[in-house]
């Protein structure tokens, strides 16, 4: 097919561009027209900063969803990792290393548990990961007795993870960009990536074709857990102290981006890079609404419309 309007979302292996990129261009133009504050370098940096934290979570959820499952425990993993990083006390080389590595390992471990439940035991992924979310939130709040979490000491090198601005660009943007490139290559050009698409398309056929469905699937959840935890560590470095009850709720904005980017809810189709475009679209819309002084409820409402609208749109278009 040689349609000029390449509506087939994220055709695997194809070179067609997802419509989300056109939406992104349109949103940028509209934002620049609506507000002259939008295109200032300070504002762009803040858009990126905002987008990146949700974006890293969304990348992992994209991988899980291409495999045909949902990971809704990511929001709680973000919170768990942020609290862990602060409690470890990110000071000194050892302290900082541990405060980065341990939360990410913990996130990956949570992902493995999710993956075992879903792919080994055959549990429904929505229920499994919501259950995991409750468990993690409960465990974290119990650990900190519901109190505000403050690190005993925070090294500058740790803070820099979130606050350094090489070339005027927030450092997390570089982390995000690196993760995007790695995941894009992994998904498009490795055996593992190919197998993720295969199990999302037809798990039973994949198994009969010799794909290790269980191991591949567990790995998708581990990636998602590790990435969500990475976001948590960045948040810890950004704020330095936090109210655990105030960190959370990242899973739905992230899911909105994943779906808006064209990853099919039933799996097998989608691309990490398209999720990035969707993340930017959402970050820009949110940013402009903030500039124009629309309050959080309105922003939430718009996000709901975007999510539902995207699902309806992709269903209406049908699949490639």
């Amino acid at each position: 097919m040689n349609s000029i309007w390449p509506l087939a979302p994220g055709r695997l292996g194809g070179s067609r561009i997802s419509p989300i990129w056109l939406v992104l261009v349109a949103v940028i133009v509209a934002a620049a027209l609506v507000s002259d504050r939008f295109l200032t370098s300070y504002n762009i940096a803040s858009v990126l900063q905002q987008g990146v934290i949700t974006g890293i979570v969304a990348l992992g959820m994209t991988v899980v969803l291409i495999g045909g499952q949902l990971d809704l425990s990511t929001g709680a993993i973000v919170m768990m990792a942020a609290v862990m990083a602060l409690l470890i006390g990110p000071d000194g080389t050892l302290g900082i290393t541990l405060a980065v590595v341990l939360p990410i390992l913990a996130g990956a471990t949570v992902g493995v548990v999710n993956g075992l439940a879903v792919y080994r035991a055959g549990a429904n992924s929505i229920v499994t990961t919501i259950g995991m979310q409750f468990f993690l939130i409960g465990a974290v709040l119990a650990t900190v007795s519901g109190r505000h979490v403050r690190a005993t000491a925070i090294g500058d090198a740790f803070t820099a993870l979130a606050q350094a601005r090489p070339l005027g660009i927030p450092f997390p943007v570089f982390i995000f960009a690196a993760l995007v490139i790695v995941l894009a290559v992994v998904m498009s050009s490795t055996v593992f990536g190919r197998h993720v698409y295969a199990i999302g398309g037809d798990a039973d056929a994949s198994r009969r074709s010799g794909v290790n469905v269980v191991r591949t699937g567990i790995a998708t959840f581990a990636i998602s857990g590790a990435l969500a935890a990475t976001s948590g560590v960045i948040i810890a470095a950004l704020v330095g102290h936090l109210d655990p009850t105030g960190v959370g709720g990242y899973e739905f904005p992230a899911l909105t981006a994943v779906v808006l980017g064209g990853t099919r809810l039933t799996g097998g189709v989608g691309r990490p890079i398209d999720t990035v475009a969707a993340i930017l679209v959402i970050a820009i819309i949110t940013n402009v609404m903030t500039i124009l002084d629309y309050q959080y409820p309105i922003q939430l409402l718009v996000q709901g419309i975007v999510l539902t609208g995207a699902v309806a749109y992709y269903n209406w278009r049908g699949e490639a």
């Binding site: 190919r194 037809d202 056929a205 010799g210 189709v269």
Partner: protein, 254 residues
């Protein structure tokens, strides 16, 4: 028998909870032999196929390949022993293109460990063209392909790799007369090349034509084995329905 016995199944049983899908099946498949497996819906044909291709293990019984006892923990184990399967459901991932499905589970890699997409596309393209010269545009999701093309992908990938025993579960169920004839030609060609074929089919007439031996399965048991050259359609159908040979006194079939 002079031909080499590739696969020997002895006393194979399979229970799913309380369902006894197979109740002790013995079956041999030898080089250059087409064994047809026939029987009613639910007789246990696909279950037997899946045991032999490593999808699930038997509840009891023994599988020997080239005389050696084996146990398959996955379809790849069976493939490593040269047993390839074309499933009733084809087992294709609909969202992937033909080369991806062709090499699914045994992808080619470049020196650096990445997918060697070019080499896979070339090899798959060549194998598919061998099977059906008019089959082009293979790099689109197989969901968009016709039943015959999808079948061709499933067949081509099964015979491309070193195959000793080819299992075909209803290979022509979804095909038109032209493609059905092509599959028959292919089965004859593979047989000449020394491959053993287990053919599951409901089409008794074509089975008599293609097979050397016809094995009738009924409610999980083998109720009869016939030499194709020495039997006819009515006898086979009778065996399928009643589980025994037609008495000569029965007179002509209805």
């Amino acid at each position: 028998m002079s031909a080499q016995t590739f696969v020997r199944l002895t006393g194979i049983t399979k229970n799913f909870g309380g369902v006894h899908a197979l109740k002790g099946v013995d079956l041999d498949i030898s080089a250059s032999e087409v064994v047809a497996l026939v029987g009613h819906n639910g007789a246990g044909k696909s279950v037997l196929v899946q045991i032999l291709s490593g999808v699930f293990p038997p509840s009891s019984g023994e599988i020997r390949v080239m005389g050696e006892p084996v146990s398959f923990h996955s379809p790849n184990d069976a493939r490593h022993h040269g047993i390839e399967t074309i499933y009733q459901t084809l087992a294709l991932a609909d969202n992937l293109d033909a080369p991806s499905n062709f090499f699914l589970g045994r992808e080619l890699r470049t020196r650096f460990g990445f997918l060697d997409k070019r080499r896979m596309a070339e090899a798959a393209g060549k194998a598919l063209a061998d099977l059906n010269p008019s089959f082009t545009d293979i790099e689109r999701p197989v969901r968009q392909m016709s039943g015959g093309q999808r079948q061709a992908v499933a067949i081509a990938r099964a015979i491309h790799f070193d195959v000793r025993v080819l299992i075909m579960d209803e290979p022509t169920a979804a095909l038109g007369p032209h493609e059905t004839a092509q599959v028959s030609t292919l089965i004859r060609r593979l047989r000449e090349q020394g491959i053993g074929i287990l053919l599951v089919s409901h089409d008794v007439r074509s089975v008599i034509d293609l097979a050397d031996r016809i094995v009738v399965l009924k409610a999980g048991e083998i109720v009869g084995t016939m030499t194709a050259a020495e039997t006819d359609e009515d006898s086979v159908v009778d065996m399928i329905i009643r589980g025994r040979r037609r008495e000569p006194a029965d007179g002509s079939a209805p």
